[in-house]
């Protein structure tokens, strides 16, 4: 099957099996920020990507679903030289320990802040409930999302 999609803003074409998941297509084509923590059953959240800006579990998303759509991965949010406010907030709050769940957490957080500018603790908990973290106890992750929302509100910068 030929898949035409956009990844991190760039048009890309892949050959893949019709049964392939988006996760498999991404990993086998060198997009390694997408992680796997469960047996491709959508129970850990480490494989979260944005599909047209909405959070999606790539391990249970058929690759065909990405046809003609925009796939965003964590490296598209920012770089160490120019991080996204969420990336900076995660680092500053101590929300990154082993970092394995971090790409998925950040993308799920991004999807939240794109729709809710000033989320409550409950809204954050709800948005991140599918993303498991075994290191942090979620306290500093929640704090980081709130801090990022505040920073973005203050600067007026949306990205």
């Amino acid at each position: 099957m030929r898949l035409q999609t956009r990844i991190n803003g760039q048009p890309r074409t892949f050959e893949c099996e019709p049964t392939a998941t988006l996760f498999e297509v991404l990993r086998t084509n060198g997009f390694k920020s997408v992680k796997q923590g469960c047996d491709r059953e959508g129970t850990c959240g480490a494989c979260t990507v944005l599909l047209d800006g909405k959070s999606a579990l790539s391990c249970i998303t058929p690759a065909a679903k990405a046809e003609g759509r925009e796939v965003t991965l964590v490296e598209a949010l920012g770089t160490p030289a120019d991080p996204h406010p969420l990336q900076k907030a995660f680092v500053d709050a101590g929300a990154v320990q082993c970092g394995y769940c971090t790409p998925g957490m950040l993308l799920a957080s991004k999807a939240l802040l794109d729709t809710v500018k000033d989320p409550s603790d409950e809204q954050i908990a709800d948005a991140l409930s599918g993303n498991l973290c075994r290191c942090t106890g979620y306290v500093k992750i929640t704090e980081a999302v709130k801090n990022a929302a505040a920073t973005m509100a203050k600067s007026g910068v949306r990205r």
Binding site: S33, G37, T43, L132
Partner: protein, 785 residues
């Protein structure tokens, strides 16, 4: 020497950003599976379908004939070198009861054969094509019955033995045994105002690092085996891999890239020797990634039955206590002795007592293998001790907080347990240096509202209750663990810090950089850290036993002190020869701060860049560098007080933790934010263990729920209000006053919640976890009377 004033610290004690966090947040840092996998083949371990069986024969010819299969390795193809998979120092205090592959399997999921294929699907098909004539043996699925006369013998292989002189009797399924006694417990039990006895049971649990075990191996151009692996113990992994396969240590290189959590699961050397065997068989790059289902039956927390008994005076004085331990180590004895001993050595010394006894056994069963797991026996025993004491306090009509205040160990005090109980040998006597437990108790009680809220369950079907506990752990294994750090200076005044220490997400690379930077008067930005590569970094036992900050941190401090001496010499020469300061300043009186070396009067300075350039290019050229090793003479405990507020639904049995307060004394927190992260992560892991995590087995010993749908670990929706209180003390023997922080707090939730449930509904839970079914049954049982 008086303790430095923490207020004077420039880098230590500050929450600098974790040095690898931004790279991780930008998706740039590499975990094993993100490295150049090239044309790596898939490594696969064929799992045993039986809990206990012998292969009368195994024929791999059909499996080998499948297209895409590169190697099928059976027990006949490998050297039979008994070893332990426990990633401990040499000689390991764990039985040598494992082969890479054996003719016998001992639990469902045990290793049958190794397969290398183009894909996982082909490898699994090859596994199914193995023709095995099984002799299925009766299995031991109940630890209480493992030592019964006539029980099936799990380790009947000739040669299974303990490599150190301690009791071991595999013919009776006894993997370890230890005991100690001080004073006269019989007298305590016959002559005390109150005696009490109670048995507690804790359950299996898995670490659930979000990255399951993963290892990639290949041959380098010198024909050496290189293993990039998710390990907490790179040097032990190198040694044990070599031992298991009968190849020289020098032929193995172990590299730990970033790893996605460990919590003790990756203190086990169980995939590295398999991948090395696959690489040697195929001469190809091989990647072995465990599935989540495989991870669940890799290694687990030992389920332990603990019986407490003791005698107490009316005023709450502890006359003596006895702890009896029966640990289920599963099919292999990895960490069996040491986890079991930790039940005593990390729990009993918390309370002052003259008479104390400890009797422990670990037994083999045909269930998943116990191993190292954050808390390491203290989790299981602290549950027993802290609920037991809650019951004792109630019987004596003493507030549980007050009971602990009266009895907990104080600075300057020792415990007979420290000297009596070590890791397969006597322990090391020590007196407590720093202890902030009194303050932890006071501030924690205040934060939870202990006096106002306790004893007010309310009238509705949902009852509220408060519970608490106090805890200790250790910092490193005294007179056993060693850590080394190397430091060299560059021409811009920056430094390369290389450490054997293993950052598994904890932030130890950052903590070591902070400690060295503090000594050298620079920032963390001036430290380039590389760690955990057996070819390139000095030795370190690895990330376990709450040792890295305390021990590797001390090695970093010592190496930096040595480098600072060398810098002062060059700076003194520079100040005289280039800046014409006469007489030559006394190097000992020069100070390092702000990236410069200052004269004693602060009038003149030379930058570290000028020192670096001079040392490498200009005069008397030499490399400014040092390496230092640290061993510990003691294992200073961190202390913690935990307070839980719960809501128990008496109609469903569901327990909701409303608020959880943790007050902790970890000495100086080198990086407070990272230390808080350790506390919060451990607490939530402990809450998850207490409330929802549970292995379900079928009658054949197979785990029925090896996935995150059916084995629930807590998510953001399950979080209580969390309060973390850092109570600083100064531990004289630790780098800049530091003790450990990583393990202790996982031990609190089981007892604190059990005690809170009692306050809410008057029902004691002596068995974990506190699932709605178990709680409801207990409530209904109490109603029936």
């Amino acid at each position: 020497m008086s303790a430095p004033d923490p207020k004077d610290f420039k880098v230590v004690g500050k929450s600098v950003a974790k040095i690898d966090a931004m790279g991780m947040a930008c998706g740039l840092d590499q975990y094993v599976a993100d490295l150049d996998t090239g044309d790596a083949l898939c490594g696969y371990i064929v799992p045993s379908p039986h809990a206990h069986a012998r292969m009368k024969s195994i024929d791999a010819s059909r499996a080998k004939a499948i297209p895409g299969v590169h190697a099928v390795i059976t027990w006949k193809d490998l050297p039979r070198n008994l070893h332990t998979t426990a990633g401990q120092g040499f000689v390991e205090p764990s039985p040598y009861d494992s082969y890479v592959l054996d003719e016998k399997v001992r639990f469902v999921g045990d290793k049958v054969a190794l397969i290398v294929a183009d894909t996982r699907e082909i490898a699994e098909a090859a596994g199914k094509a193995l023709q095995i004539d099984w002799e299925v043996l009766p299995a031991v699925l109940d630890a209480d019955k493992a030592m019964d006369p006539g029980a099936p013998v799990i380790h009947d292989e000739p040669g299974a033995h303990m490599p150190i002189p301690v009791p071991y009797d595999p013919k009776k399924n006894m993997a370890a045994s230890a005991s100690m006694g001080v004073g006269d417990m019989a007298k305590v039990l016959s002559g005390s105002h109150l005696t009490h006895r109670q048995t507690f049971r804790t359950h299996y649990a898995q670490h659930c690092p979000i990255e399951p075990h993963v290892c990639m191996g290949w041959l380098d151009p010198r024909d050496r085996v290189v293993l990039a692996t998710s390990t907490q113990v790179p040097f032990h992994a190198r040694r044990i891999t070599a031992q298991a396969l009968g190849i020289p240590v020098k032929r193995v290189r172990v590299i730990k890239p970033r790893i996605g959590g460990g919590f003790g699961a990756k203190q086990e050397v169980m995939v590295e020797q398999c991948v090395a065997a696959m690489v040697l068989a195929t001469r190809r790059k091989v990647l072995l990634q465990m599935t989540r289902a495989e991870e669940f039956v890799s290694r687990a927390r030992h389920p332990i039955k603990v019986t407490m008994e003791g005698g107490f005076n009316q005023d709450g004085t502890v006359n003596g206590m006895r702890m009896e331990v029966l640990s289920n180590t599963g099919a292999y004895g990895s960490h069996a002795l040491t986890v079991m001993c930790n039940c005593g050595s990390k729990v009993l010394p918390l309370y002052r007592m003259k008479n104390v006894a400890f009797d422990a056994k670990a037994v083999y069963t045909n269930l998943p293998v116990g191993g190292a797991y954050r808390g390491y026996g203290a989790t299981q025993a602290a549950f027993a001790m802290e609920v037991f004491l809650d019951e004792v306090a109630e019987k004596l009509k003493i507030d549980p907080v007050e009971f602990r205040r009266r009895n907990h160990i104080q600075p300057g005090e020792g415990s007979p347990v420290f000297a009596a109980l070590g890791e397969g040998k006597p322990g090391v006597e020590q007196k407590i240096g720093s202890c902030g437990l009194a303050q932890c108790i006071e501030l924690g009680a205040k934060a939870i509202g202990w006096t106002e809220k306790r004893g007010h369950p309310g009238d509705g079907p949902k009852k509220r209750g408060l519970g608490m506990c106090t805890l200790m752990q250790g910092s490193s294994i005294p007179e056993i663990d060693m850590a080394a750090v190397a430091l060299k200076m560059n021409d811009d005044g920056s430094f390369n810090l290389t450490a054997g220490a293993t950052d598994l997400g904890t932030g130890s690379d950052t903590v070591l950089a902070q400690i060295a930077a503090e000594v050298l008067g620079v920032t963390v930005d001036d430290m380039i850290v590389n760690s955990s590569d057996t070819d390139l970094t000095p030795f370190d036992v690895g990330a376990y036993a709450s040792s890295t900050t305390y021990l590797s941190g001390e090695a970093a401090r010592k190496a930096a002190l040595d480098v600072a001496l060398q810098i002062r010499e060059v700076a003194a020469d520079y100040l005289t020869e280039v800046m014409k300061i006469e007489p030559r300043p006394d190097p000992a009186r020069l100070t390092l701060r702000e990236g410069k070396v200052f004269t004693a009067d602060g009038q003149h300075s030379v930058t570290l860049g000028q020192v670096g350039l001079r040392s490498l290019y200009e005069r008397d050229q030499h490399q400014i560098a040092a390496h230092a090793s640290a061993i510990s003479k003691k294992s200073p405990p961190p202390f913690s007080a935990h307070f839980a507020e719960v809501e128990v639904d008496t109609e469903t049995g569901k327990v909701r933790v409303v608020k959880y307060v943790t007050a902790i004394d970890c000495g100086t927190a080198i990086n407070p934010k990272l230390a808080e992260g350790q506390v919060e992560g451990a607490v939530v892991n402990g809450l998850s263990y207490a409330l929802t995590e549970e292995y379900l087995f079928d009658e054949s010993g197979r785990m029925r729920n090896p996935n995150f749908n059916d084995y629930k670990i807590l998510s953001t929706l399950d979080m209580p209000q969390m309060v973390t209180l850092m109570i600083p003390t100064y531990e004289e023997t630790g780098p800049y006053g530091a003790k450990s922080v990583s393990e202790i707090c996982i031990n609190g939730p089981c007892p604190a919640i059990s005690n809170a449930i009692y306050d809410a509904v008057g029902v004691r839970l002596h068995d974990t976890p506190f699932t709605p079914e178990r709680v409801l049954k207990a409530i209904r049982g109490a109603q029936k009377g």
